[in-house]
């Protein structure tokens, strides 16, 4: 699991989020990288500096900025198969995604957090050609803002045969542990009609039934 809390330039989070939405539903997803990236689920959430938590308790918090102007915050959650590095590097094969990652990195505000001339700073990565030319720096940048631990695997009903020597700081539950995106999509032994149900491109917009919130009296 990846769970990022990215500091964004003040006033930019909403625009950034709108662009991310366009990228997600974009017409050209490029080559089908789903088996390779193994992404099951992801979520993004923008938090404008100074806005209260959307629920009754404090949730995410924007980072304090320099000169009293707080930074916006972008929260990113992704659940994926296998190791972090091959998962992220798989995205580098798609120029549209690389452009999207560069856009996000370019809108980060690390003032007061990391020196601009630090090789792993967002500013330095962008100044030197972007994420694809600086993968190791990009990985370190992500890890700087990653609440999750990329070495903690999902746990299912049977537990894990080789637990880490120390208890993990969180549990990531899985109802189908070991079921990878690759296995779902596999043409020979995967989910029947996976290719038709979830085409890599040209998928029709999904019409969801209206959701009903729980009744609160």
């Amino acid at each position: 699991m990846l769970m990022l809390f990215l500091p964004v330039r003040p006033g930019q989070a909403q625009d950034l989020h709108a662009t991310i939405g366009q990228l997600i539903s974009g017409a050209d997803p490029g080559p089908d990288s789903r088996p390779s990236t193994g992404v099951h689920f992801f979520m993004t959430y923008p938090m404008v500096a100074g806005t209260p938590s959307p629920i009754i308790v404090p949730t995410f918090q924007a980072a304090p900025g320099v000169g009293g102007k707080a930074k916006d915050l972008l929260v990113v959650l992704s659940i994926y198969d296998a190791d972090f590095e091959p998962y992220i590097s798989a995205f580098f094969a798609n120029p549209a995604i690389v452009a999207g990652l560069n856009m996000i990195v370019g809108m980060l505000d690390e003032t007061g957090l990391v020196a601009a001339d630090d090789p792993t700073s967002a500013a330095n990565i962008i100044a030197n050609g972007g994420v694809r030319k600086n993968p190791a720096a990009f990985y370190q940048l992500l890890m700087r803002y990653n609440f999750a631990d990329p070495t903690i695997p999902a746990i299912g009903p049977g537990g894990i045969a080789n637990p880490a020597p120390t208890p993990p700081r969180y549990f990531l539950g899985a109802t189908f542990p070991g079921l990878t995106v690759g296995k779902i999509l596999d043409l020979k032994t995967g989910y029947p009609d996976a290719g038709a149900l979830w085409p890599e491109s040209g998928a029709p917009a999904i019409t969801y039934e209206p959701s009903t919130p729980p009744t609160i009296s």
Binding site: P31, A90, P119, T180, L185, D186, K188
Partner: protein
Amino acid sequence: MRSPNPAGVSALDLPDIQGLLLHGYKGYDFIRHLIFRIADPTGVQALCKALAPGSGGALSITDSTQWPSVKAKPPYRLNIAFTQTGLAKLITDANYRIVASRSNTLVDAFGSGAVARAGKVGDVGTNDPKNWWRTDGWQLPTPPDLAQDFDLILSLYAQTPAGRDSWCGTLLSMIPAGAAVLTFRQDADPLPEGPDFIHFGYRDGISQPRLQDAPPTLPGTSPPGAPPGAATSLARAASGDDPDDRPIVPSWYFIIADAEAPTYNTHPFLVNGSFGAFRLLAQDVGRFNEMIARDSNPELLAAKMCGRWRDGTPLEVSADSPDPSLTGFDLTNFDYQTPSLHQKGKPLDLGDTGQRCPYASHIRRSNPRDDTSVIGNSGDGNAMAVQHRVLRRAQPFGPPYAAGDQENRGLVGYFIGAVLSQQFEFIMGSWITHGGFAGNDHSPNSGGFDALFGPPPPPPQQSPGAGLFYYCEDAGDPSNPADYTKVDGVTQIVTTQGGLYVFFPSLTALGLMASGRIA
């Protein structure tokens, strides 16, 4: 795009690129690797100057230019590479920092060195650096000092053992007195089966990356890295047909380029050079033989572990037995998900799940080709299956195996790529070692580990499926665990005995180093 590289035409600056990077030196099978600690940088700078082509020295570094003809083949080949400590000694720490600051991705692994990065490539447990270099090749009375004793490698390739001794003597005489201390020496010799075979009995080095713009060694012959018999395949090809299905890899993955490389930045000092992992790998032939002998079909098990029959026949092309009719590009023309254009044999149904060629087989893990279910192997065209490749320049060392002997033997040489972290380390860490290799692997232990390398060194309870290798024959159902043959007791048969991350300077850079400069 797939098109043959016209013979004799190259956009690369061949006279500036060390020959080992673009040529496999076929016929130069008697090799000597000499590792030195630099004691006097000024003396080694003088050596660099003397070794530069055209300097008039007794020997000179081999570049990548083509030989004019078979008759004009030079009597030896010689290349030079430096570790980070060696490079910094010659160009100064300050200059190294300048180069590194403009080349972060390129020097990411090199700057740390093989010892510091050992964990990323499975060099833990018995492979741990604390055990390295403790073989007969160690030249000093004191134990190896991993931080001090490894600055420079000279690799000499000769056509005969006597030629190797003779040229080595000349080479050593060129080193100014007190300039460098020989710390390790390792010869590599061909096995009786032939120069392409390794101690486990497999034909090796068949499927090298096909580099864009790389010229053949001789005009009119097959390009470097082509499989045995490739020249015949080329001669038989119809006009306009490219018989080589291997995807063309942009040369900047292996020869450092300035402007066009989209995956790294570089200081000009590094241009036309490359990086490599020098590896000394022991191979336990006795244990391997004992392991496969326990199976009802030892040769099939050996093929399933490698992905090829021992003669090089790919399992994906011939599932039941070696096929001696295959030659040249027949040995490399295959893919896993969709048959390549000239692929021989009858492929399995579309959508391979590792049934014929197991995901735990060595060639599949080190080069997954078109299989986009492999984590980190996405993209299309050249982006897929070419971004994580290495050039292999490694040969067997030690005597041929005799039943029961305890001789040290294995493989020694270079695994070359411009970005070690994305090429050598990625393959070793993410593909060779880790079980989560392919998302659609249905074998009972999800592929586990590379069968030829054996399970990772940590205790078995830390590695799911440690010691187990599964394979499914064509008649089986890969989604049914009961249809897999379970091989128990698979153990580590390859042990790292030494490792260095090195830089192969261009001839221009070598000239600069001779005067301690970077520009």
